[in-house]
Point group: C2
Chain length 465, copies 2
């Protein structure tokens, strides 16, 4: 029997590490490279997305590689959004009416470390840090690196190369620059950037505000959010336009302006953030972009996965989850076509791309939902009704949020189609006064289901004719 291939995985972030672990478990020889130092040996940069939302699709990926239970120990459940309205009293808007449906706040470096530790146990995995990929010879599966420790250039070759080197992927750039095939590509930047800030723990290590929620301060064009950390702190993120707005990163050029802005817009948060002004000017302003491309592969030699293939904005909390789901889908395709790499790569993209396109679009939808709509009366009526459906008629209804977040066996593209139709149905029924208070919940659900079917049907007729 032919021995299994040597696979070079470029990028040891969350996706690359999980992929390396799973492929090592399948018996491949793995070289895993990473441009940064081993994160277990250095302190972390401040202000770079240090916690993330982990939910059912991500957990399914971790389960496949046998590390779900270990990861769960790093999790803080978040049962809903704690909305802090402008001038009003905060209220909890649950993510689902079902008790077992919640998302988790998890430390990015903590989870990454867990995966690297698991890789240490695999005899068929070699890990190389401080090795920055600069270019890939696609037809030969040869990658060129800069070794940041020695300052020298290095070259690694393998049977296959998988680029999991994130939104700024060097492997993808080699495909973009290659010109021997048509490479469709898009990078779409939001006109908003982000700044990471902190609500520190109290001196005894406890939380300064409600722990088990994702806090949101929606303000129309700008928005503040906060996710809890195991040490009692919250990582806070401000989303703000770069320019052309009353408040923007361009105009926020002094301590006084930052403090008076927070005092006006987020006074309850300001009280919890003693170091706000220092952090604001110390931490970098991050960009928010969506990247799509196709093909994800070439020559049966090179493949892109995770953010390298499909970077999304963070507003659905699905970036990491989508990347872990990539590994699940790739594993299923391997079960069918293992060994025939051209077919594996082609079928993987065919099975997967419509879904990563969908979650990219859903994440952009959610940007608007979070900063504007969560404060909108009709939107809140919809959420109230959906929570009642999920609570009292729990087998018969899942909101768009639930379909995306808690239905890991439903593809994102299906969740998007059904979820958007449901939203449209409910909002219009409510707006038309067709779901009066007095109506029984079962009857309301029937009306919503019928209207949803009608919307889906009308779309299909228009599309197919």
């Amino acid at each position: 029997m032919k021995s299994k291939e040597h696979i070079l995985i470029v990028g040891a972030g969350l996706c690359g590490s999980l992929l390396a672990l799973r492929l090592a478990q399948r018996g491949y020889t793995i070289t895993l490279t990473e441009k940064r130092p081993d994160l277990r040996k250095v302190t972390q940069d401040a202000g770079r997305s240090i916690n993330l939302a982990l939910s059912d699709r991500g957990l399914k990926g971790l389960r496949l590689a046998g590390v779900e239970e270990a990861a769960k120990k790093l999790c803080i459940p978040m049962n809903g959004r704690m909305i802090h309205p402008d001038g009003g009293t905060p209220f909890l808007s649950p993510y689902s009416g079902r008790k077992n449906e919640y998302i988790n706040s998890i430390s990015r470096p903590g989870l990454n470390q867990l995966l690297l530790d698991a890789l240490d146990e695999m005899p068929n995995v070699a890990m190389r840090f401080n090795l920055g990929c600069e270019q890939v010879e696609l037809e030969r599966a040869v990658a060129h690196f800069k070794n940041y420790e020695t300052g020298k250039n290095e070259m690694l070759s393998a049977d296959l190369i998988i680029g999991t080197d994130g939104a700024g992927s060097a492997v993808r750039k080699s495909m973009f620059d290659h010109k021997k095939f048509l490479f469709s590509f898009s990078q779409q930047w939001l006109t908003h950037g982000y700044k990471e800030l902190e609500i520190p723990a109290t001196s005894d290590g406890s939380f300064r505000t409600y722990k088990n929620a994702l806090h949101i301060w929606p303000r129309g064009e700008d928005m503040l959010i906060a996710l809890p950390n195991l040490d009692g702190s919250f990582t806070v993120t401000l989303f703000l336009p770069y320019d052309h707005s009353d408040y923007s990163f361009e105009t926020m050029d002094s301590r006084e302006k930052v403090l008076s802005y927070f005092k006006k817009e987020f006074p309850d948060a300001l009280e919890l953030m003693p170091d706000l002004a220092e952090e604001f000017f110390q931490n970098p302003t991050g960009t928010l972009g969506t990247i799509k491309c196709t093909p994800w592969h070439c020559y049966g030699k090179v493949l892109l996965m995770g953010d390298a293939a499909h970077a999304i904005v963070p507003f659905y909390g699905q970036g990491m989850n989508a990347s872990f789901e990539d590994v699940v889908v790739f594993d299923e395709i391997l079960d069918k076509f293992e060994g025939d790499w051209n077919t594996v790569f082609y079928e993987y993209e065919k099975a997967r791309k419509k879904d990563t396109d969908a979650i990219a679009d859903l994440a952009l939808d959610n940007f608007h939902e979070m900063k504007e709509h969560t404060a909108n009366a009709l939107f809140q009526q919809k959420r109230k009704l959906e929570i009642a459906f999920e609570n009292e008629l729990s087998h018969a209804y899942s909101s768009k949020y639930s379909l995306v977040t808690f239905n890991e066996d439903l593809p994102y593209s299906e969740a998007m189609k059904r979820g958007r139709a449901q939203d449209k149905a409910i909002l219009n029924l409510l707006d038309d006064g067709k779901l009066p208070e007095a109506m029984a919940l079962e009857e309301k659900l029937k009306k919503v289901q019928q209207a949803t079917q009608d919307i889906l049907h009308d779309d299909i007729v228009a599309k197919n004719a």
Copy 2:
């Protein structure tokens, strides 16, 4: 009074030439560069989109610069699509039920020559051919060129640079590579390419098939079209997948295969194309792409216009028309903000981008409509009804096609929104049997208008909540 600026326009194709003419008429000093030789002094390449559809938006642009009447002399009116069904009899599907609404087939080099001749008359215009732009220093408005006659590098500076250098724009590439601001960019290639072929004129210079139509042979995945030329020939274009299809450019690798494919799929066209097999292998296979980007401008110094800012696929016949409309919109913005270039560029993009995005999406819609739907029964019922509306109730209805093509004062984005809603309304009313044959035409129109309003209203409620 301050003298008017010196503007360097890179690219003397259709958009650059019309823009140069209009800005020269407004009193600017213009340098217009072009990488190709002066097309009035050389013979044309075969197989490169030698005719185009000119319609009302394009004519409005030519009118603004005083060259509409001259251009009309180069036009052949096309009143509709001549559909050649698979195995059936060809039939004419009019573009509109109104007699005065038709599109025109026009020679690209002929129209370009007309514009260059008009520029020759302007004392404030300098034209430089064989000068290929390689890079632009954006902050200083300095452009670097290769002179293809001397082989030497040249540098031109100006107060402003406008890049009208087409889909492969070097000016845009300088913005993409610049990295000092966020540049959103997308290039989307169709999995279909195209090949230009010819139906020659008869020996006495007359047309071998019906002259005043755009001929279409829709075949699902592939499609043939033909547009008439003044010399009695038709330019024929085959649209075909590159690969992964029963028939594709990949599999079409011999004369025999090409001929047997045409014999099976397009037998009536084959009879008119004596040199098919030679042309197929002599002419290049062209790519079909959509390019979008933002911002279109930087530093109040550099602006992109035409295909350089928004290249689209050719299926709505709107590429040139959209570029000429750019000149009209830019001229309107100049009327308001002339002299304040940062504002001119910002307001121009703000006014214009939603519309060029819309025509890009509409052109992709039409690709599917042309190759698949024109042969679909429900689609044909819809067209029949729309033609009746436009014919008998001509002031009360315009189809999506008419809104886009013949309503030059309605922005593309509005035409798209209203047109798509109308299409959806009609198709669903027909599919549900709600427009029975016996119903009076006025009543049918009322039902369509009401259903269209409902669709637009429901979309707005869903979007705003």
